[in-house]
Symmetry: D2
Subunit: 411 residues, 4 copies
């Protein structure tokens, strides 16, 4: 009862390949062997790798981003068996804290190469780029994006319970249909992929099965949450997760020091390795009781608060940059909103790539404003002015500053 | 200097048809005659009709909603000539206050008939419905949605400067192309429509031209703002608007006592007639100076603030209710998020229509969470728990209450 | 039910002496005749004079402040009989709105002459001074204190129910003892004063009695609240007031457009005439049920919010300006804290009197920090940086601006 | 540059007596030897003992509180020489983080025996008592005060630079005068005390001198800050401290996991040992530049935020519990305000001692409301309702709960 430290349910080894660590896995599948037990109402610490499993370095080149192996990502910590959890229950996950490792006080934000991952604005910004962020306590700053500093809204990008076989089959069905119908040049979804599948401590046969059937970790999914990348799922949040298999088989990973709404550059948060402290409580029969199909959460009281009057807010509409009118398309509108911010901040000396990186990871607020006034969806993006050490209000004269450069690839 | 009241730049007559009032108009067109001059740096009051021009009654039937004439809407107050404003300038509009008329302290939220207007969830909720809201100072409550009360985040749904002829032509081109390509059953955009066009004090010939060419007021548009329905454009906000014609020709209307992000039921805000107090300042050459293509705004410090920990937040993904997977579609995801809230709140005794109305008008926060994790867009919707007089937290036992009914149409 | 306007329970006449208006009074006494009835659960509007009853003018001289007649103040609106209220009940007062009169959009802040009223810093600043504030919607600004503008945290300075004869006797006893023991030069309390007593519609005999016995309105008092000058008792607040006489006999007045914690210059809020909208609810047996000896309140969600990081905060201790050490005296500490702000803001070109006025009326936060570390009490004063149109952060270079002058008296 | 961990400038040993550790000291004196150098603009971690130097145990008896040795407290970490700092400069201290030790996740709140320390309400509550708080990430809860849980507003109780000989002499003069004039039974200040003086690495002679002359650490003082116990001096704050000696000689200690305004029970915060991360920057000539006599601070954006409408607020006035009227005495008023909260919360089953402990350490807001309405000062105390797991709003029925007990002494 507090006399000594909180139990660490999983330790990771930052100096060993992720695929050699039995407490990690990178596919969603009901059969991934449990890596440990957690009692109902227990508080534990769980260590996590960064989402690339250590592929990205603290240096000034984006070659590592360019060449990142996207089959070797999202090594999640888990799955954990939560005692008493049964299908139909809800697992209440209270995020008591999230911290980087003390001896690794830095993280990164990346823009993937259009040919290898891409991102929300890759039509305009196809090159890989990177920013390294140094953590100073609750704050971070970057030598690659000067004159900016902010407190992290620290959170896990991914958490969820394992799918049942039925849920997994449904995922594979519907995403398979999308892939089958795809006529574009770009990937629209990721099918199961045996290559680089890591199934924790699974024996070879089981591992093959999981590689063949297991759902990829990239998308969040309505039935369990997963890779939601919700910036407000931060310290103090209570998350309510549907349970689909006995023991819940909870996994977590992809810690973010900070992220903006949308995580637009895809590797857009400030990605880091670290430790998450969680309290687990099983709500028996919770899915029916709460009429729950997708996760619900209740944020804590401790987010960075800038005050409503400290956000400079940009509007965007579903008319794309070629003048084409789209029908109530909030995705197109949000892309335009992001471009409006880039045009505005460019005046201070930042390169477009620097701003693209910044919008991905700073605590910007992306709202759906109006979604019914045909044909235009309208979205807004609020930039907290206090993250800059100069005054970005429209009424203040613009002075171009020396903004240096973010990291680019060598060729 | 404050010795007497602020000048009222336009009075409206609530007992006279909108189309007989020369200070109102319902099309965007550069040639609508100005209804008055406002000095640079002047503060004025402007009276506005509700967006239906008085078609909706304070009663317990939704027949008026069912039969609303959607060609007779959005009678805007204006346009006003702002002294010294020229194309390329930016008009800074400071919203000093917005108030309902003292002797008309009520407003309405409507769900349109799927055959006459529709809305975001009309596939599931095709019937017309209505809630009347009574204003008690800064608060509102409704006999049609009991056990709810909140402070208004009061704002204008529409404000903007007139388009130039070129901008207008561009609107008609691109929206015309969308209409031409439409293969669905539903309207995807509204073309110019001479019927019920009101061009203020225009002579007959000019009025006909404006009816033929004038842009409809339904959508917001990137070049000037217009019907953005941004709930945070409230008291204390500074809005920066592009100027496209000499004198700016500023118009405003469609006042909302409150609105949720998305304004999902289309007639979704708490619509009201009232008075807006604005200060106008011209920023010479502002469009180039601010690199501005679409409006920017800076909210004031006075929004209702519930604290980060008082929002119960729901997640939704771009998988529709038929299990179909959509590709990074934030609009689909937001629809699912809304449905999750309906399923949750239904447990307390509300009908789905009541919740649909409530989500449209209460200050709910709709965020774009993740928009890059193929194929799922993830959006969130935060419901402020303090608007209910009972406890909606998941950990509290549910008691069904007598929630009465919203207003429906007679047949 | 909202179809028409809210009933106005009392109208005041701004062009008639306060003492001729039967709905006003300026003494607390159980026998002041009721000026009207209000039903349980009713919402009404009540008009109020400013606290000087119109003695202060919108001009650039402080002669009116210098010569103010302090026996002719605090003409309260009421008392109102609230149906069903009995001694021992609690009257729940919901402040739905507070507004200035539409045709009188201005208010004033004064520093009284040390010889006529004085104030918190009158040892250092003995001269009378004045600032006129113009209201522009929810904002105010002053020609007497340039480069400052803020949203009002609008509230009534005074509200409360009438004392019973017993409560009144207790007030007179204990304040009389303080006066009797006074050995200083200054008034320490105000005894009953027949001169200029106004007892509403009371007949001459009763009026004399009330003049002789009635408690003065200057101090707030624990048994009923009264002149608390609590800036956060603003729009949206629910106040719980003890009831001491049948019908409660509720009175209200002394409206403030804004005030800082402490209201340090005594006439320190932005004083105004206006209208307050209140809902009244009687809680039977509430005093015992709530174990209530003094009023409790629950603020609404709509205060101006600057964010925790937007307050520049000054520390003060209970060592006075002569180097004398006081024992845990929070009053002395707060005076020092105010002086620290004056020294800091003076660097920008403001006169001490301008800052003294500003600290009295702007929404500054005065906290009791530490009150146990003998011998020093420590208090803090947080100044919201966003009320200035220049940057007051310590890291920004100081530029002296032309700050004009506040109004002073003619000699 | 972030590649590796932040340097720890001082380690403490929790298993060794404080007085044997040369990096600690418990007197303010210019001659305490520096325990290390810190560069201008450097970020370091500094470890700190709890303020009793480990005297209090994690158990269920308050015997340790009863018998605490108050000469053996406030072992501060330091002093540190900050490179380039000279008298007249300002030391900018950015508090980047404060954390408990990972293997000691608990703290304590105490009420001292009236005969040994006492506190703000010791007239009514003379007995020693204690509550142990367990930390679960950013939250804490106590087996001694059930049904309460909140996020810490973590901060150092003490930080400051060393006094010069002149400043120290002034402290001793003015506090000595207070002591000399004392006619009460209680200590009004603490004179220099050779007993248990710890002067870091000082040789015997110097140590004796420091014991003879050195200022006690209990009070905060205007010239340097010191033991201010300001709850908002939390993570993210920038504090501006006057420098009086070459190298500044900065010290810090007395870490608090949380504290309420006033820290009323004297050992009132949640006291803990832990680590603080600070960035130091010297502002040359800062005292003149900022016209600074006492510290100023600028809080960060990350405090727990409950929203203005989530504080139940109590009023108190300067009339004491014996009915005696005091003249504008904010200290008396705040004591009454605290008593009003105790009376209210007692209804739920808490003992008065439990509430007294809770008010000392939970993030309650203590405001100076009105300080000019003779003879009554009015203060308010806002209790954040969300720290309770039951509903404390006045409109909710009271149910008494089993609240157990706080720890008391054995006899």
């Amino acid at each position: 009862m507090g006399h000594k430290g909180i139990r660490t349910a999983l330790k990771v080894d930052l100096n060993k390949p992720a695929w050699e660590q039995p407490g990690l896995h990178n596919r969603w599948h009901p059969d991934v062997p449990s890596c440990g037990k957690i009692a109902n109402n227990e508080v534990v610490k769980i260590e996590c790798l960064d989402w690339t499993g250590g592929q990205i370095k603290n240096d000034d080149s984006a070659d590592d981003i360019k060449n990142v192996d996207l089959t070797q990502i999202h090594y999640l910590s888990g799955p954990f068996d939560i005692e008493t959890a049964e299908p139909g229950d809800v697992l209440l996950v209270e995020i008591q804290d999230v911290q980087p490792f003390e001896d690794q006080p830095w993280g990164f934000t990346g823009i993937f190469d259009k040919q290898n991952g891409g991102g929300f604005l890759d039509g305009l910004y196809p090159k890989p780029a990177k920013a390294i962020w140094d953590f100073e306590g609750i704050f971070c700053s970057s030598r690659h994006i000067p004159h900016v500093r902010f407190a992290g809204l620290i959170h896990p990008g991914i958490l969820g319970c394992a799918p049942s076989a039925e849920v997994l089959a449904e995922w594979n069905r519907r995403e398979g249909e999308l892939i089958a119908a795809n006529t574009t040049q770009r990937d629209v979804a990721k099918p199961p992929e045996p290559k680089s599948a890591h199934a924790g401590s699974a024996e070879e046969n089981l591992k093959e099965k999981i590689g063949r059937e297991g759902a990829r970790t990239i998308p969040g999914r309505p039935e369990h949450g997963g890779n939601c990348d919700i910036k407000n799922l931060s310290r103090g949040s209570k998350v309510y997760l549907p349970v689909h298999v006995p023991g819940a088989k909870f996994s977590v990973g992809d810690l973010h020091f900070s992220q903006g709404d949308g995580e637009i550059s895809f590797c857009g948060a400030i990605e880091m390795a670290g430790v998450i402290t969680i309290k687990f409580t099983v709500i028996k029969g919770g899915m029916a009781k709460l009429a729950m199909k997708s996760p619900i959460f209740h944020p804590g009281p401790v987010e960075p608060q800038f005050g409503p009057g400290r956000y400079l807010t940009f509007e965007g509409f579903s008319v794309d940059e070629n003048g084409k009118q789209h029908y109530l398309d909030a995705t197109v509108a949000y892309r335009q909103t992001c471009l409006r911010v880039i045009e505005y901040l460019r005046r201070y000396g930042y390169s477009d790539y620097q701003i693209y990186l910044l919008l991905s990871c700073a605590p910007v607020q992306g709202h759906i404003a109006g979604l019914v006034d045909i044909p235009n969806a309208c979205t807004t993006l609020g930039v907290p002015m206090d993250i800059f050490d100069f005054d970005i209000r429209p009424e203040t004269e613009v002075t171009k500053l020396d903004m240096g450069s973010c990291a680019f690839a060598s060729d």
